[in-house]
Each structure stands twice: as C-alpha cells, then as structure tokens.
C-alpha cells in the first residue's frame, strides 16, 4: 500500500519538476528572443531617430535623446531623389515582372512536366549564383560598353532579371511541386491544354508563392548596389547610389544619410507588409483533401 503510494507520487513530482523546467525554458527563450530582436532593431531605430535630428545634433557623443525634431533633412532628400527613385522603380518592377514571366514557364518545365535532364537544368541555374559577382564585373563592363548599354536602365533590368531568376525558378518550382497531381490529371481530362493548365489550374494555386517570390526579387533588386555602382553613372543610378551620393566629401552628413536611408527603406517595408498576408495565407490547398 505505502509502496504503491510512493510509486504513484514519484511521477507526479517528476512531472512538476518538468513543468518548472519547461516554464523556465520558455521564459529563457523569450528573453533571448527579445534581446536578439532588439539587437536587430536598435540600429534601424537609431537611423530613423537620427533622420529627424538637425545635422549638428546627429554627430554628438554620447547620442542625444532629447532634441527638437526637424524635417529639414527629409526636405533635402525629397528635393534630390527624383531620378534615383524613378530608376529604382523601373529597374525593380521591370526585372521582377520579367523574372516571373520567364520563371513560371521554366519552373513548370522543371517540375510539372519535367524536361529531359531537368536535374542538370536545375543545377545550372543555381550554379550561376556560385561565382562571385566581382569576378564577372570586368567582362560585364566590356559587354555593356560594346552594346552601348552602359549607364542604361535596360542594362539594370537585364542584370537584375539574370540575378534573381535562378532563385525565383527554384522557389516557384517548389510551389508547383505542391500542386496535387490529381488536379493536373483532372484538368487534362477536362480538356485543358498546357497553357490552360498553367493559367487556370496551377497559377491560382501557387499565387501566394508567386507573391513571396516577387517580394524577394523586389527586395534584392531594390537594394542592389554593386552592379549599379559599377555600370551606371547618372542615367540609371538607383536609390542605393543616392545614399552614397548623400555622403559629401567634407562636413557633417549623418542626419542627411539617415533620412535618405529611411526613405530608401520605406518602399521595401511597405511591400513586405502587404505581401506578409499573402505569405501567411500560404498555399491554400485545404480544398483538396
């Protein structure tokens, strides 16, 4: 009797201890998560705060937290950003549309109806990302020069398309693989050809995936600096170039740079926030099962 009681009490104590351990673990991880999140967010916050400071207050050490906010730096930014933001929007939107137009058929040919040697094709696409872009900048420059595309927005569209296409193909392909084969068979029985199969059956299902793919392409193209810096001067200079141009040879510039950087970040944040819902929605495949 007493032995039975002891045995019965044993697991109870263990489970109590386990619960305490689980709880402390939860709290511990919570603290870690907050520390990491703040560590990531602090520089961004600093940037935004600095953007509202007058130039003289921005450079002080220790940093001032009490100051009279001003919009003068933003005014300065908006007076000069016109051509840069136009170029950025054209290069970003143009390349992203091209990436989707090329990536959807390519992903289809590598997933739903795989072509012969599709593995090689898939590897080829990702292998283009293995070479550091610095190694290719010389030839790229010469080619751009000879084709009269140097400092042209078309050059950036082509290069950003090439830059994002491999990743996009891999992403879209993985979404397409999620489409149940019975749906495609049903479409074939219903008389849908290849085009109809893609437009009426596959694309509606993978559309949340396409949104996230487009989002990644937009972010990469918007933030790209290296190619823009080396292959454009004025006719195609993008927002990252504008940030660089905000740094003068002499004098104070921290508040101005912060304002420019804040402005440059806003579009990506907005696009990301809009796409977030689509990402969270995920692949709506609930109707199949």
């Amino acid at each position: 009797m007493s032995a039975a009681t002891a045995v019965r009490r044993g697991p109870g104590r263990v489970s109590g201890r386990r619960r305490a351990r689980e709880l402390s673990g939860k709290v511990g991880w919570g603290i870690v998560a907050w520390v990491v999140a703040i560590a990531f967010f602090l520089p961004v916050l600093w940037m935004v705060v600095t953007a509202f400071k007058p130039e003289s207050a921005a450079e002080t050490w220790p940093p001032k937290f009490v100051f009279s906010p001003t919009l003068s730096e933003f005014r300065l930014v908006f007076s000069g950003w016109g051509p840069y933001v136009t170029h950025s929007v054209i290069a970003t939107v143009g390349s992203t549309v091209l990436v989707l137009l090329l990536g959807i058929p390519a992903a289809y040919a590598l997933s739903v109806h795989p072509v012969a040697r599709w593995r090689d094709g898939l590897f080829f696409f990702i292998s283009t990302k293995m070479l550091p872009i610095v190694a290719a900048i010389g030839p790229l420059y010469v080619i751009a020069l000879k084709t009269h595309l140097l400092d042209s927005i078309w050059l950036l569209i082509i290069l950003y398309t090439a830059m994002n296409l491999p990743l996009a193909i891999w992403m879209i392909r993985s979404f397409m693989l999620e489409v149940p084969s019975e749906l495609l068979e049903a479409a074939r029985l219903d008389g849908a050809g290849r085009i109809r199969e893609i437009t009426s059956v596959i694309l509606p299902i993978v559309s949340p995936g396409l949104v996230s793919t487009a989002l990644i392409c937009v972010i990469f193209a918007w933030n790209e600096l290296f190619l823009a810096l080396n292959l454009t001067v004025t006719n195609a200079a993008t927002m990252p170039m504008f940030l660089i141009s905000s740094v003068p040879q002499e004098g104070l510039y921290l508040a101005h740079l912060s304002a420019a950087a804040t402005v440059a970040s806003v579009p990506v944040i907005i696009v990301g926030w809009i796409a977030q819902r689509s990402l969270v929605r995920g692949l709506a495949m609930g109707a199949i099962k």
Binding site: R188, L189, D190
Partner: protein, 376 residues
C-alpha cells in the same frame, strides 16, 4: 453510349518488376456498371488510368465505343473521371468546377450554367452551394460536386477511382446506393475501382477481381460468391472471409478436425488427377450452422437430413454485430481457428464447446499449388 474493351492491355512500371497490369482482357458492355476490385497493388487503379489515358500502355490496346483509343489523349476520349480525393480546383467555385470541361469545349455560358444546374438538381446539390469554393463544403458535398463534374459532360464512360473512400461509413453506404441508382438512370457505361468487396458486390452489374496485375475472374456478384474460380477470389469475396485450410486427403474426403470430411466424388477425382496429397478446403462462415440449442448446449440436435457433417470446436472469441455474431472457434486437432457466422441473439460464450453442421456441398476445394478451384 459506348462499350469498353481491354485487349491484352499491359502496363510495366519498371523493367525488372512484374507488370502492374498484365495482359488484361476485359469487355464491358454499353451501359454496364463494371467494378474493378482487388487488394492494393492489384493493378485496378492502373487499369482505370490506362482507360483514362493517364497511363500509357506497354502492350495491347484499349477501345471505347469500338474505337482504338490507345494513343488518344485523355481529353479526346470523351470520358469523365471521379478521383479518390475529388481533385476539385480549389480556387474555382462549385459551378466553375462543374462547368470547366464544358468551358474547355467552348460551350456557351448560358448552356453551361443550365447543364450545371441540371446536374446539381440530379445530385440533390443545393443551388446556393454553386457559388461556394470547395473548401467551404462538407466531404459529402465535395463528393457530389466531383460526381457532378463528371455528369455535366455527358461522357461516353464514367471512370471512378474509389470515390467513396474519403466518406464516413454511414455516408458511404448512402452514397453507394445513390451512385448505383444514378448510373442506372443515366445508363452511362461506368468503370468503378474499389478495394472494398462490399462496394463491389452491391454496386456492380459485373465485378472483375484483380490480383498482382492479373485478372482473376469477371462475373456477376452472385456468380463470384457461388462459383469462385480460384482460392484468391474465394478468399476475397465474402465478409467475413472464407475459412481456408490446407488439409490432407483421406479416403472419401479430407481429414479435417480429427475426422473425415466427405467431399463429392468429382472433387476427389480431380484431386487424384492432379496427384495431390492434400488440398485447400474452403467453407464460408455463414455455411457453418450452429447446432440448434447450442445457446445452452444441452443436447446437440441430431444431424439434418441433408448429409451435413458434424464439426466441433471451442469458442475463443465472440464478435457481436447485432443481427449476427461471429464466433472464432478453435478446431480440436491442429488448433486451427475458423470463423462462423451465427444468429446474433444468445451466442455461445467463449470457452464453450460447440457443434456445427456443414453441408459437404457448401465446401470449396482448391489446388494448394496453383490455387485453382477443383470442380465439384
């Protein structure tokens, strides 16, 4: 209106593997409800997909309405298929799902809508469901939409791949009869795949039993039950399954449970011709008749006048089904277990000795080597 014909149709997935469907010969009459039944891996679904055009043939041919469609793409075969998971387009409304094939055929919008409504009425599908998306429907409703998508096309042949397996048991029984009734009304040739032999027996005009890619027998449900051509069919058709025992031959019959179980002379002659020393005896659970008064087992009644043979054993387990009860009985010699179906009221308790009467005519005999039926 079309008949369907498989002529030596084969499908081989891997070079060294045995064919998934091996030289299937099957004629399906116009308007017939043909059920393909078999355990998983028997090739029944592959056979259906070959007819649909979703699976290429590695030999032989397939005909629909007298036309060789072996190399015809699925959309030109004039067939409609209901998939196991329904395969409804998740982003399209119910009406769009049902009308998609018509849209692909270029049927005008009004005509499309009219035919979708008509199909919905035929299936008792509420008209205000037509605007919903598939995921807003219950499982039973989705099943009916999938049926509707097939009906709307008015195809030559319906193909159904286990369309009821995702429904709960009660709905399955209900839908089973609805589909059979609907098929009779529309008179469209139907090929129906299932692993459930009850579905096969209740729905099909004829049933084709497959195993390991080979067609075992094609017959009416009654014929399959009464005259299975081999041990596989005998064991597959009927629930609970037939009791099958390998037993040694004896003078005038076989040795079963410590005594001689007489077999008809024709079977004995066939066994002798095949030089068998033992054979497989099959007795259906419902052909094991519990001796009357077995509830209290005071005194087993005398043998019935039809030459029945006495079989005794010990009850190990009783499964009560309500109307019936299944007795798991251990026969005395060798400890073999058999299942008997008895009346549900007052079944004997586990541990009791019971006596059954079995008519020798009800017993089946099979060649243990080939599984072929020894004609009685």
């Amino acid at each position: 209106m079309a008949e369907v014909r498989y002529a030596a149709a084969s499908r081989v997935y891997a070079k060294d593997a045995p064919p998934a469907v091996d030289a299937l010969d099957l004629d399906i009459a116009d308007g017939e409800f043909m059920v393909l039944v078999g355990p998983s891996g028997s090739g029944k679904t592959t056979a259906l997909r070959m007819l649909a055009g979703l699976e290429p043939l590695d030999g032989g041919r397939v005909e629909i309405g007298g036309r060789d469609v072996t190399f015809v793409p699925p959309k030109d075969r004039d067939i409609a298929m209901v998939f196991q998971n329904y395969a409804l387009y998740p982003q399209k409304s119910v009406a769009e799902n049902m009308g998609f094939a018509l849209k692909m055929q270029g049927v005008p919008r009004d005509e499309r809508l009219r035919r979708v409504r008509e199909a919905a009425r035929l299936l008792d599908l509420d008209e205000n469901l037509l605007d919903r998306k598939p995921k807003q429907l219950s499982g039973g409703q989705r099943q009916r939409v999938a049926m509707g998508r097939a009906i709307v096309r008015e195809p030559k042949v319906f193909l159904m791949d286990e369309p009821l397996s995702n429904l709960d048991a009660k709905l399955r029984v209900q839908t089973r009869s609805q589909i059979a009734e609907l098929q009779r009304r529309l008179g469209i040739t139907t090929v129906y795949v299932t692993h459930d032999q009850v579905e096969a027996m209740t729905m099909g005009n004829r049933v084709a039993v497959l195993s390991s890619g080979l067609l075992q027998q094609v017959a009416t449900p009654r014929e399959l039950y009464d005259n299975p051509v081999n041990q596989f069919v005998a064991g597959f058709i009927g629930s609970p399954a037939m009791n099958l025992r390998t037993v040694p031959l004896a003078d005038g019959g076989v040795r079963l449970a410590g005594r001689v179980f007489p077999l008809p002379a024709a079977i004995r002659a066939a066994a002798k011709d095949a030089r068998l020393s033992e054979l497989v005896v099959g007795i259906r659970p419902e052909h094991m008749h519990l001796a009357t008064g077995a509830g209290d087992l005071a005194e087993p009644a005398g043998p019935p006048a039809d030459g029945s043979v006495e079989v005794t054993g010990e009850v190990l387990l009783v499964e009560e089904l309500g109307a019936d009860a299944l007795l798991h009985v251990r026969l005395p010699e060798g400890g073999d277990q058999v299942v008997a179906r008895t009346e549900g009221r007052k079944p004997p308790a586990p541990g009791r000795q019971v006596t059954f009467w079995v008519r020798p005519d009800d017993a089946f005999a099979f060649n243990p080597g080939t599984g072929a039926r020894l004609a009685g």
